[in-house]
Symmetry: C2
Subunit: 192 residues, 2 copies
Amino acid sequence: MDARERLIESTRELLWERGYVGTSPKAIQARSGAGQGSMYHHFDGKPGLARAAIGRSAGEMRERADTAFAGPGPVSARVAAYLRRERDVLRGCPVGRLTQDPDVMADPELRAPVEETFAWLTGRLAALLEEGRAQGEFDAGLDAEATATALVAVLQGGYVLARAAGTAEPFGRAVDGALGLLSARTAAKESR
Amino acid sequence: MDARERLIESTRELLWERGYVGTSPKAIQARSGAGQGSMYHHFDGKPGLARAAIGRSAGEMRERADTAFAGPGPVSARVAAYLRRERDVLRGCPVGRLTQDPDVMADPELRAPVEETFAWLTGRLAALLEEGRAQGEFDAGLDAEATATALVAVLQGGYVLARAAGTAEPFGRAVDGALGLLSARTAAKESR
DNA sequence: GTCTATAGGAGGATAGAC
DNA sequence: GTCTATCCTCCTATAGAC
């Protein structure tokens, strides 16, 4: 792995763990093993490094969601698969985390990937739920858009509760609670 | 308002807006109008100031929840009242926010109020839902604990989505989605 | 490409005068 | 109680040598 690559990856990790304000060029250099000169040769500074790192995190988040959504089985199973996907819960969401960083949200270039990722995710999930509703998997009264937003929120909030508790447990319980509520909207299957 | 009070309140606001790492003693002094000497006379430094500020935010959060939960009407109405309570959505949750601050979570004294507040809130809401279930307001199969955790997560995640979008809208949609799902678990009322 | 030198400013706090 | 002076470290970056 070359220096440029190590710099991006180290920045990604530090942004994840400590946020933008909490991440210094010095720390990035230390973790990546790259020197001052190397860092400023490959990037124009902290914001540039952050752009590369955030873009990568956002891309990964989309890919993982896509994988779960495109899986086999009925919609409800794919939604459950996504919600229950293995996660490093206590680490939190690398993208959602940035939402709390005023310096990130103040910079349009840093903010855009965050905004787009959640818009895409919610929209994708809403389309999936709508598909399930159209096929009679869910009852006709289900509001796909609102439900999708609630499910994404459960995930993001689950991270918050888990970190507050110091255990991954609340995350799992939140997901269980959400799926429990959703399952009640599953249209009864006629057994004929 | 005396200097000590202004210092706490300013710290509270800054912690809310910028987090612990993003808040400097200098900024606290500037916002409070107190000088260096005044600040270090009343508090032993940044951690001490943060202790006072975080404790206050946590207390307020509990009080507000208590007010909604203790209101009149059936459980479902009190839960909805809490979820739909007026909020400064784009500002986020002053307590949940701290969850992303590694320096806060690393200090037991700063962390404790955060942990306790969410444990209390989830437990309180679970007890309320259980009460509703026992009284036949919800169907017997409702998992009060998991559902309560999901609802609190929807709130915390709603803040994240709202900040990502730059609008309060996703918060409202997430709450609508959650309440929509919950209403399907309301036991049908016999009209006799 | 990477290293070292250098630099102004901010962060976080102490000391002592008033 | 509050003010000013002072301190050392870290932050973020630039310059120029190798």
